[in-house]
């Protein structure tokens, strides 16, 4: 197998040694996803209820994580922020995976001009960092979640399609594919029913790692005020809002979203790396 995953290098020891760490990260992913799913029923306060008289109050029974510079409840904003903060990367990963698999498979199976267009565009996108492409698109279309998600998905697409291409090329050389071809199965059928399930784990492991990258990029865009609309709770936006709180000496409302971003990204990385590792070991 010649396929090489684009991943954070050197995690192998942590993956091999870290059963507990892996479990902790898996649990973290589960908690964050559940929080995002059930946020509307869990939140104790309206996340946008401004209470300037109570601004920057310390944690209390009513506000367990305190309030921000505008008197909004931090816990409620964190919980609802999990929704936008995870939905964006999910969109990026879903689109880039689906389109990447389609393009990569077509390039490997057909070769010819599709293949050369793919390798040319890969080079172009490597020179065009995802965040820069997103900013360029936002400067044209204006702020919002959709434009950056599409821009990042386009930027991540070549990583997936390059991986898929090498995987499909390897699968195609195996005897079972020629056996199906001899029996008269169509190329589409062979690709969808036989090759796709075989390569899916590797591609999905890569997508899990991409999720962390996408979360970082999208949180960065919201931090710049270019991602989600201003009132929507979002972790990246909360870090931006928290900067004023820090200046006033009340860092809690900035530290918490920072911690959530870092922990979520680390959790997705460790889970994705471990998955990639297990798949690689199975293939060997």
């Amino acid at each position: 197998m010649t396929a090489v995953l684009t991943r954070r290098p050197g995690l192998s020891r942590i993956r091999a040694a870290g059963s507990p760490l892996h479990l902790v990260c898996l649990a973290l992913v589960a908690v964050v996803v559940l929080a995002a799913l059930f946020a509307p029923w869990l939140v104790p306060h309206d996340p946008n209820a401004v209470d300037l008289g109570n601004a920057l109050a310390a944690p209390s029974a009513a506000h367990p994580f305190g309030v921000d510079a505008a008197g909004r409840d931090t816990l409620s904003r964190l919980l609802l922020g999990a929704r936008t903060s995870l939905l964006g990367p999910l969109g990026v990963v879903a689109f880039s995976t689906a389109a990447g698999i389609a393009v990569g498979t077509a390039a490997a199976w057909r070769g010819g001009w599709i293949d050369s267009v793919l390798s040319r565009s890969t080079e172009l996108v490597f020179a065009f960092p995802g965040m820069l492409l997103a900013i360029l698109i936002i400067s044209v279309y204006g702020e919002g979640l959709l434009a950056p998600v599409i821009a990042l998905a386009v930027a991540y697409l070549p990583y997936v399609s390059r991986l898929t291409r090498s995987l499909v090329l390897a699968e195609r050389a195996r005897p079972y594919v020629s056996a199906y071809q001899v029996q008269g199965h169509s190329a589409l059928q062979i690709c969808l029913r036989h090759i796709l399930p075989n390569i899916a784990p590797v591609v999905l492991a890569q997508s899990t790692i991409n999720f962390g990258y996408a979360l970082m990029d999208l949180a960065g865009l919201s931090f710049l005020g270019l991602g989600v609309p201003a009132l929507t709770p979002d972790w990246g936006r909360m870090v931006f809002d928290g900067q004023t709180a820090i200046q006033h000496g009340y860092p809690l409302s900035a530290i918490l979203p920072c911690a959530f971003i870092v922990l979520t990204v680390v959790a997705f990385n460790v889970v994705g790396e471990r998955w990639a590792d297990r798949v690689a070991r199975r293939d060997r």
């Binding site: 960092p129 360029l136 960065g220 931090f223 710049l224 820090i246 920072c258 922990l263």
Partner: protein, 320 residues
């Protein structure tokens, strides 16, 4: 293939990709709803004369490709058009801000290379508890976006402890500039330190496993020398291949860090001009970032065969 021919081919490839990138940057304007003139005015009310001026300046009556090549020709002569918000030449805005950004990036690059190589090296050589500690630290580092690092460092060292200024780029003097850029450059470096330490560590572990190291040790070469000349030297080519990625990450993340610390560089200018829809400025900065990245990548490609003679020209992995 001789080195000169290889270099020429890489330069030609770079020029081709850069040309495509410039086309993407130029064509993006035409994705906007409405006609280009109203987009460039971005909702500002315009007198018919202003509209005519914009039409004339951007030659909006000409065919698309003619406009593109005229725009490209202007850029090659250093004319990036006029900023809509600042009402001056974009090239002047850039000339004011580019030195600050480049200083920040170079400072950060120095930190990344020094700390990243050092951590990766001792993690690989010492192993054990040192290795585990570095591994946990770098796991956290690669999960920390630069703006999070920026806000946290600013809160701790600038606001709470007051050791460093919390914003701005100082008032002119070089010493003052470096003083103001210390925290930002560390924030910018953190993620990449983690990444580089990992790459160095795994490249050195791979080199430690190879036969020539065993031979050198069995011949009684001092361990320090084995590490320096036979392990570290061998891992350098792998480390160098990450150079392009490191610089492109620095260039992009500087947008976030400059905004967090209110440093008037091209990163903050890009953020400001995106919010104000100052498209000519956005175009210019995007192009500069892409071009800088490609130049660095070209230099890395040309340096690789010099650093590691085992590499055949153009390949990125050791041909062993």
């Amino acid at each position: 293939m001789s080195f000169v021919r290889f270099a020429l081919r890489r330069v030609a490839e770079m020029a081709a990709t850069l040309l495509t990138a410039s086309f993407v940057v130029f064509a993006a304007m035409y994705l906007a709803p409405g006609n280009p003139a109203s987009f460039l005015l971005a909702g500002r009310s315009a007198s018919p004369e202003a509209l005519a001026a914009i039409n004339a300046q951007y030659h909006l009556d000409d065919p698309f490709l003619v406009r593109y090549f005229r725009w490209l020709g202007d850029i090659l002569q250093g004319d990036f058009g006029r900023s809509i918000t600042y009402r001056t030449d974009v090239s002047r805005l850039l000339a004011d801000r580019l030195p600050t950004t480049l200083t920040l990036i170079v400072m950060s690059l120095v930190v990344v290379v020094a700390v990243g190589l050092f951590l990766g090296r001792i993690a690989a050589v010492r192993g054990g508890a040192t290795d585990s500690a570095i591994l946990v630290t770098t796991t956290l580092a690669v999960g920390t976006p630069s703006f999070v690092a920026a806000v946290l460092l600013q809160g701790l060292f600038a606001v709470n402890l007051g050791w460093f200024p919390s914003s701005g780029a100082g008032d002119g003097g070089l010493g003052d500039l470096l003083w103001h850029l210390t925290l930002p450059s560390i924030a910018l470096a953190l993620y990449l330190i983690g990444m580089l330490a990992r790459v160095t560590r795994s490249a050195m572990l791979e080199a430690l496993d190879s036969e020539h190291v065993t031979v050198a040790r069995s011949r009684g070469v001092p361990e320090r020398q084995v590490i320096r000349r036979h392990v570290f030297r061998n891992s350098l080519s792998t480390v160098l291949t990450t150079g392009g990625l490191i610089v492109s990450t620095l260039l992009v993340c500087t947008i976030l860090v400059e905004t967090a610390f209110s440093i008037g560089g091209i990163g903050q200018l890009l953020e400001l001009s995106t919010t104000t829809k100052d498209f000519p400025t956005v175009q210019a900065i995007s192009l500069i970032i892409v071009a800088l990245f490609m130049i660095v990548n070209l230099v890395v490609d040309l340096l690789l065969p010099l650093v590691d003679p085992r590499l055949t020209l153009g390949s990125r992995s050791a041909a062993v």
